[in-house]
């Protein structure tokens, strides 16, 4: 572990939204440190708050409470010009290739706006050279053909590349990829992910990859870390290789066991973990204590439904986990009212 401060650190982040006159707490108490040059994956199911976390990291959303610390200083302390520079260091690539590019502009326009606004190039020639460079970097060749095209003339994969090129125009230090490959063809996903890995190596980028696809997360962040979120909290975070091979939190285990594999023998011998309930609690009605306890097969009454688990280390695991029984090193037994884990029929 290096001594340099993390690029972005979230401390005690809470975030709520108002919907239909109700206050919905989307994030409760997120503590996360993104190290420079690392790959961090945030995974979870829909409603867990991973996109909101990503937007807070990218600086597009303010937390309702808590601190966002960038390069060692809280974001409030940045003023004026510094703040503008800070804004550019954190970029986002969106999920939907059809909505992430303005249909009224050509690719050339889209790339030249930030370059011109922030005077990052010298004159017309410099601008064009930089656009050429960027398009080549994201494998949109020949660049000459791409520049005058409109987004609707490109495929989904090509549009995502333009999105990435656009994010790169301002030389960011961190890119949040919010489900950036979910709406793209399966065969193109790996192309885009490999490209992102290559760009990271070449440009020294930090990438926060948000996804609901665990297999993809494993592949992309194999050398990095993975954080699992549930109902607005991080329940497990650690090196991907550890978390996947040796999951500690019951939710993570249930997820990993539930994912089908592109391998018939593998997937048909996989044992699923039956949860006590299929109902996902509403965010306005989060269960007391550990939010997962109504569904957790290893639920211990008195322990899991009263105290709130915090992320901490646990014996036998490298990663941090927010589960009280695991933190105390207790052996996990399936709760009596729960039928034993079924093998696939």
């Amino acid at each position: 572990m290096s001594d340099t401060p993390p690029i972005v650190e979230l401390r005690g982040i809470r975030r709520s939204f108002v919907k239909d006159r109700q206050l919905i707490p989307v994030l409760q108490d997120i503590n996360l440190a993104v190290q420079a040059d690392e790959i961090l994956c945030i995974v979870g199911e829909s409603g867990c708050g991973k996109t909101t976390t990503g937007k807070i990291i990218a600086g597009l959303l303010d937390p309702s409470s808590g601190e966002v610390i960038v390069n060692g200083r809280p974001t409030e302390s940045y003023q004026g010009r510094e703040k503008a520079l800070l804004r550019r260091q954190l970029q986002i690539v969106h999920q939907d290739p059809f909505a992430s590019l303005n249909p009224a502009h050509t690719i050339g326009d889209i790339l030249s706006f930030p370059l011109k606004r922030h005077r990052m190039t010298e004159g017309g020639a410099g601008l064009k050279r930089r656009i050429w460079e960027l398009l080549t970097m994201v494998d949109l060749t020949p660049p000459g053909d791409m520049v005058n095209k409109y987004p609707h003339q490109l495929s989904g994969g090509q549009r995502q590349r333009v999105s990435i090129a656009r994010a790169l125009t301002v030389n960011p230090k961190l890119i949040v990829a919010d489900e950036a490959v979910s709406m793209v063809d399966v065969s193109i996903r790996i192309t885009l992910l490999k490209m992102l890995l290559r760009l990271r190596a070449e440009l020294g980028l930090t990438i926060v990859f948000i996804t609901h696809d665990l297999a993809l997360a494993k592949y992309f962040a194999w050398e990095g870390r993975i954080a699992v979120m549930y109902l607005g909290r991080i329940v497990e975070i650690g090196r991907t290789q550890e978390v996947i091979a040796n999951p500690s939190h019951p939710y993570t285990r249930a997820l990993l066991a539930a994912v089908p594999e592109a391998d018939p023998e593998l997937t048909r011998h996989k044992q699923a973990i039956r949860l006590r309930s299929d109902d996902i609690p509403r965010l306005t009605d989060i269960p007391r204590g550990c939010a997962f306890h109504p569904r957790c097969p290893y639920f211990i009454p008195g322990m899991c439904d009263s105290d709130l688990p915090e992320l901490a280390s646990a014996p036998g695991f490298d990663q941090q986990v927010a589960c009280i029984p695991v933190q105390r090193g207790l052996p996990l037994h399936v709760h009596e009212s729960q039928v034993a884990a079924e093998a696939h029929p």
């Binding site: 199911e45 829909s46 495929s155 989904g156 994969g157 063809d185 399966v186 065969s187 193109i188 996903r189 790996i190 192309t191 490999k194 609901h212 665990l214 297999a215 993809l216 494993k218 592949y219 194999w222 290789q241 996947i244 091979a245 040796n246 999951p247 285990r253 249930a254 997820l255 990993l256 066991a257 539930a258 994912v259 089908p260 594999e261 592109a262 391998d263 018939p264 023998e265 593998l266 997937t267 048909r268 011998h269 996989k270 044992q271 699923a272 973990i273 949860l275 299929d278 109902d279 996902i280 052996p331 996990l332 399936v334 884990a341 696939h344 029929p345």
Partner: protein
């Protein structure tokens, strides 16, 4: 095999569908042929633009006006042995055929259920349209809801918006079986759905399949789900079926370069560290497709013959497998060498989650 290989329920021969576009005709589906047996689950795998959605629409005769069926037949065998070409059915006959013989479950349950009608109404209406008395329809529905692990009473009287996405998908699944069809066509039913919800849907599907013995045509781009529930897998590319065979053969002994490329691009959670290969290029133009094999511009096994001669669909293993690839032997060899994971490469999550 879990199905009866002698009883053919649906027989599709040389089905071709095209759309009209400004530049010319888009050949969305070309000469597709396959048989669906009783109790068989066939997974149709392909990416966007491969023609699987068009094929789906053709099978249920819901093609848009701009599309035309250029040829072929879809022979359906009733339980009493009658054989009919569904493509020749009138609107009236289609209405009786759909849902009673062949039903559908589509992606995006929210759009399939009318938000102002209670589930009970839907059940009664469906029953009435096909001559099933109310009480009987209700009983069937309740039984099916129980089998898909829903609180039957509660679900029966609710509106769709009162149910979660996963519950709605399961309701759709139950409703699709209410008239005991022989075939259920499922088009990307688990694509927009969470991991745990997907798991429960797949489990429930297996239970229903075992008890009610229907055949499934499962259309998806998701290889993992196909690996889990399919008996037979067929891969589609640019409107054609390029490979078809029993699931284990297609996954471990693939005979088409596209199938193998797809497999090599699919990450497996339990496989630990992986090197995955992407497929360069993009899907071909269906109006003016590449000469020879349509996949050749993107193929790692491309030879000169691939550029000029379209590969014929050849049968292997006594007709159990079909593949249209010039490099089929090489592909199979590579597949056998790389697709089967050695036990020490497999991460322990496979063996169950209890520590």
């Amino acid at each position: 095999m879990t199905y009866k290989p002698d009883e053919v329920v649906l027989s599709i021969r040389d089905l071709s569908v095209s759309y009209g576009a400004q530049r010319g005709r888009v050949r969305a589906v070309q000469n597709v042929s396959f048989d669906l047996h009783a109790g068989e689950t066939l997974a149709l795998i392909g990416e966007s633009g491969c023609g699987k959605s068009t094929l789906n629409l053709a099978l249920i005769r819901q093609l848009p006006k701009t599309a035309s069926i250029d040829g072929g037949s879809v022979l359906y065998t009733y339980r009493d042995g009658r054989q009919v070409d569904v493509l020749k059915y009138t609107k009236q006959e289609m209405r009786r055929y759909l849902w009673a013989e062949c039903s559908m479950v589509f992606q995006g349950a929210l759009n399939s259920l009318n938000p102002v009608i209670r589930i009970s109404e839907m059940v009664y209406e469906t029953g009435e349209a096909h001559g099933i008395p109310r009480l009987e329809a209700r009983d069937r529905a309740m039984r099916l809801f129980e089998q898909v692990r829903l609180d039957a009473k509660r679900v029966f009287t609710s509106y769709p918006h009162e149910l979660s996405g996963g519950m709605r998908q399961r309701v759709l699944l139950a409703l699709s079986l209410i008239l005991r069809p022989q075939i259920v066509i499922m088009d990307e039913p688990t694509t927009a759905v969470d991991i745990l919800t997907q798991r429960s849907i797949l489990d429930v599907l297996k239970v229903l399949r075992a008890e009610l013995n229907f055949s499934v045509i499962f259309i998806s781009h998701d290889l993992a789900v196909a690996a889990e529930i399919a008996d037979t897998v067929a891969t589609m590319y640019a409107g054609e079926i390029v490979e078809r065979g029993p699931v284990n053969d297609v996954f471990y002994r693939s005979r088409h370069a596209y199938t193998l490329s797809l497999l090599n691009a699919a990450p497996r959670l339990s496989a630990g560290a992986e090197t995955l290969d992407s497929i360069p290029g993009s899907p071909p133009d269906l109006i003016v497709p590449p000469p020879g094999c349509k996949f050749h511009p993107r193929c790692a096994y491309v030879q000169d013959v691939c550029r000029t001669v379209p590969p014929p669909l050849v049968a292997y293993d006594d007709g159990k497998r079909l593949a249209a690839c010039h490099a089929t032997e090489q592909v199979q060899q590579d597949a056998q060498a790389t697709r089967i994971l050695s036990p020490d490469a497999i991460l322990p999550i496979v063996k169950g989650g209890v520590s």
